[in-house]
């Protein structure tokens, strides 16, 4: 067992734990990802409340911890100790299992999310298919929750949700196919024909990113604007897929009070929320992988070489340093009243921790450059991959919040109309054109 641990670390082999059949590392990866996603959901929770508040000229959580930093923890504790209500007339078993299915589907997807060329639990050769399949199971949880509650509002919410998810999955799938198609096609649109890449298509998540690297183009820009169209279709469909504003009809609070989870409370309700945010991150990961070059840093080919690698490797550390600086700036701007003393200290400590992480992240690439040890350079690379992937996903997360603050909600029939009459034809057209252009240029 130690061997298997070591062989992975010292760089003698490379690949995902799944490929290497290394169960121990697979387990460690799963745990890391589970913890990471949970933390990301908590962070997203805080960030959403804060950002939304600032969109809406208010402050958001300010009381629990400095600038409400501990609010998610307080919320989690509250939800855990809240009374768990199961309606008397509900279908107990289905009611009980529904949130679990949603959560399971949302988290299973992460087994194939490639945070780097070897930073994924497994690299299935049907990766993207697996992802779409498992995330389509999430709707089962919602439908079951709505039905099991045995109440009208949840039932309507569940009906809306199933119709919505099934219809948007079609457009989403077609957009995905046109990205997959690009893995096998030469030619980079605006940049003319090129013979980069080996020309074999792949469904593997890692393979798709590698194809983008080999072809020297993010699929977003390939066959411009065809890649862009497919991406936009996907970006819209994924919002509908995760039931977020402006497509949050299944839980439209002004119409259906809370939609499918009206009858849920406490821990079960929080499982739904966890699943929703996890699913948001998951679909954003798909979008990043398929169109935005996954873990690739900007211009991996144009600005290649050890120097550029080193410069880009400094980004993670610098980001954390900047976050730390913001926190410390907040500390300085805290009111001087003794009432805020503990908060000020807390914020300062938080800033110091962030800055410390930043320094650590800066130290790794610098040490790697100086000492030239393989393990250090390997971890620098892993760091960079994960950093760029997470940074790209974070952009999507911010977009989710932005949408929610800006747009009113669609009506059900309009949503279906957009799905079937606008998105589906466009994505189908984009797919066909991609194939034609690819054949003509290839």
């Amino acid at each position: 067992m130690l061997d298997s641990l070591k062989s992975f670390l010292d760089g003698s082999v490379s690949g995902t734990p799944g490929q290497l059949n290394n169960q121990v590392w697979a387990l460690i990866y799963v745990l890391i990802i589970f913890a990471g996603v949970s933390v990301a959901v908590i962070a997203m929770n805080w960030l959403e409340r804060k950002a939304l508040a600032h969109f809406q000229v208010r402050l958001g959580p300010m009381r629990v911890g400095p600038h409400g930093l501990l609010q998610p923890i307080a919320d989690a504790v509250k939800l855990l100790i809240k009374e768990d209500i199961i309606p008397a007339e509900s279908d107990k078993f289905v009611f009980w299992i529904a949130p679990l299915i949603g959560l399971l589907a949302a988290f299973t997807v992460y087994t194939v999310v490639p945070f780097g060329p070897s930073q994924a639990v497994s690299d299935m050769n049907i990766g993207i298919l697996f992802m779409l399949g498992v995330s389509s199971l999430a709707v089962l949880g919602i439908v079951m929750a709505g039905w099991a509650s045995n109440s009208h509002y949840p039932l309507i919410g569940a009906l809306r949700s199933s119709a919505q998810m099934v219809s948007y999955e079609v457009a989403m799938g077609l957009a995905v196919i046109s990205a997959i198609l690009m893995t096998s096609l030469h030619g980079t649109g605006l940049y003319g024909v090129s013979s980069l890449g080996d020309g074999t298509g792949t469904l593997s998540m890692i393979g798709i990113v590698q194809a983008q690297q080999e072809q020297h183009v993010w699929f977003l820009f390939k066959f411009f604007p065809l890649g862009l169209i497919a991406f936009v279709i996907f970006a819209i469909a994924m919002v509908a897929e995760t039931n977020r504003a402006p497509f949050d009809l299944p839980e439209a609070e002004s119409e259906l009070t809370a939609g499918f989870h009206t009858e849920y409370s406490g821990l079960r309700w929080s499982l739904f929320m966890l699943a929703e945010y996890a699913a948001m991150i998951a679909v954003s990961s798909i979008a990043v992988t398929l169109w935005l070059g996954g873990w690739l840093r900007p211009f991996p080919n144009l600005l290649s070489g050890a120097t550029w690698d080193f410069i880009f490797a400094l980004f993670p550390g610098l980001t954390f340093l900047a976050l730390g600086a913001i926190a410390l700036l907040g500390t300085v701007r805290m009111p001087k009243h003794p009432y805020f003393k503990i908060q000020t200290i807390g914020l300062a400590a938080f800033g110091v921790v962030l800055a410390g992480i930043g320094v650590l992240l800066l130290a790794v690439p610098i040490a790697a450059k100086v000492s030239n040890q393989s393990i250090l350079s390997r971890s620098t690379e892993a760091l960079m991959n994960v950093y760029w992937f997470v940074a790209k996903v974070a952009v999507f997360m911010y977009l989710y919040i932005w949408y929610r603050a800006t747009w009113p909600r669609y009506r059900f029939d309009q949503l279906m109309k957009v799905g079937w009459k606008v998105m589906l034809p466009i994505s189908l057209g984009a797919l066909i054109l991609t194939a034609i252009v690819g054949v003509l240029l290839g």
Binding site: R58, H152, I156, E253, R411, D413, Q414
Partner: protein, 383 residues
């Protein structure tokens, strides 16, 4: 469109199509529901998501205002009217005071009238802002709510500085005003007008051109001018259906005849037109306020009113254009110090009646939009 005269009451017992009732639902929307603006209960009969019919159950907030009036003197009843449409308390007070003044045959002095116009128009803007925020929230746009509440705060500050109260102001007295304006009142109002003009543009920027907003409001809750008149609908709802009728213009009260303003009308009588009409009304109110502040005369603020108000035997009906529609007071006097009967003609109550024909055949989401666009206040519906 169903003929409003012959619309049948909702039959909750038998399904419309007895053998294909696979998805006919009866849903209670309210009394505790996020989008019913208080304790309104709407019984919806649905076919899937399509609304087959509605029935409003009201009265949860009934406080017997009309009964209270019979047991209070004319002066004592004045603060109670603020509690009906509590988001437009100033308008309520204006209507009541003017009705009693008419009964007593006294006339408020010009300065008082100018002040009354300024305060009621400010209140109209506040009411419309609250309507806009909640209406947008019902349709799913969260952000306008906070913008409108931020700006409404400035109006409430002016009220507070003037009379000490923010919501239920009790700003007017029978015969005029109790308080002279505070120092800097004109400046505050002028500053507010300058402050809020760009803000209204900001609301419009968020909503007017928004595709989703347009799709959610165009052709939703349509009511024709004929039906609107038959149903007694008044205020912006009636004007959005294309009837150019505003009591401020048709039968001017206070000194609205002195001011230059336009009455916006819509064409289609849908939710979008009602939205546009109210947005323009806010701007027109600002125009009136500007003119009033510029022309406010010096002079007394209280007419000669006897200490004990004892109108002669008789009855009077007086109505004003409240933000929500025609607000009327029908007062019967028996010659004593207490009114024999006060009947309030509440605009929200009558407008709410139109909900049924406006949403038949629409979807559940439209019910929410239409309740919002009718701009009802349950305190006034139930009294």
């Amino acid at each position: 469109m169903t003929d409003p005269n012959t619309i049948s009451p909702l039959d909750l017992e038998t399904p419309e199509r007895p053998y294909l009732d696979s998805n006919e639902l009866i849903i209670n929307m309210g009394p505790q529901h996020p989008a019913t603006h208080g304790v309104l209960r709407v019984i919806l009969k649905l076919d899937g998501e399509k609304v087959l019919g509605t029935e409003c159950v009201i009265g949860y907030l009934h406080r017997g205002v009309e009964k209270i009036a019979e047991n209070r003197t004319y002066t004592m009843f004045n603060p109670y009217v603020d509690r009906m449409d509590y988001v437009a308390a100033v308008s309520n007070g204006l209507g009541y005071c003017q009705a009693v003044e008419k009964l007593l045959a006294v006339e408020a002095p010009p300065r008082a009238n100018y002040m009354r116009v300024i305060l009621t128009e400010l209140n109209r803007i506040a009411s419309h802002q609250l309507w806009l925020g909640t209406h947008a929230l019902d349709i799913g746009a969260m952000t306008p709510l906070f913008y409108t509440f931020r700006d409404r705060e400035e109006i409430l500050k002016i009220f507070e500085k003037y009379c000490g109260a923010r919501l239920t102001t009790h700003a007017f007295r029978i015969g005029g005003l109790q308080y002279e304006t505070y120092a800097g009142f004109e400046k505050d109002v002028k500053n507010f007008v300058d402050f809020v003009k760009p803000k209204i543009d900001e609301y419009e920027e968020l909503l007017t051109g928004n595709r989703i907003w347009i799709e959610r409001t165009k052709n939703v809750g349509v009511i024709s001018a004929r039906d609107a008149i038959a149903l007694g609908v008044t205020g912006p709802v009636l004007r959005a259906s294309g009837v150019k009728w505003d009591i401020r213009r048709a039968q001017p009260y206070a000194n609205y005849a002195d001011f230059d303003f336009e009455i916006p009308i819509g064409e289609n009588g849908d939710t979008y037109d009602r939205y546009i009409v109210r947005m323009i009304e806010m701007r027109q109110s600002l125009r009136i306020i500007e003119q009033a502040v510029a022309g406010i005369p010096e002079g007394p603020i209280m007419a000669k009113v006897p200490k004990v108000i004892k109108p002669a035997v008789g009855e009077i009906y007086h109505s004003i254009e409240a933000p929500k529609g025609e607000l009327g007071y029908f007062i019967v006097s028996d010659g004593s110090t207490q009114p024999y009967r006060v009947r309030v003609r509440p605009p929200s109550f009558v407008n709410l009646q139109a909900l049924d024909i406006m949403v038949r055949g629409m979807l559940v989401a439209d019910v929410v939009a239409v309740i919002g666009t009718l701009d009802i206040v349950l305190g006034e519906v139930d009294r």
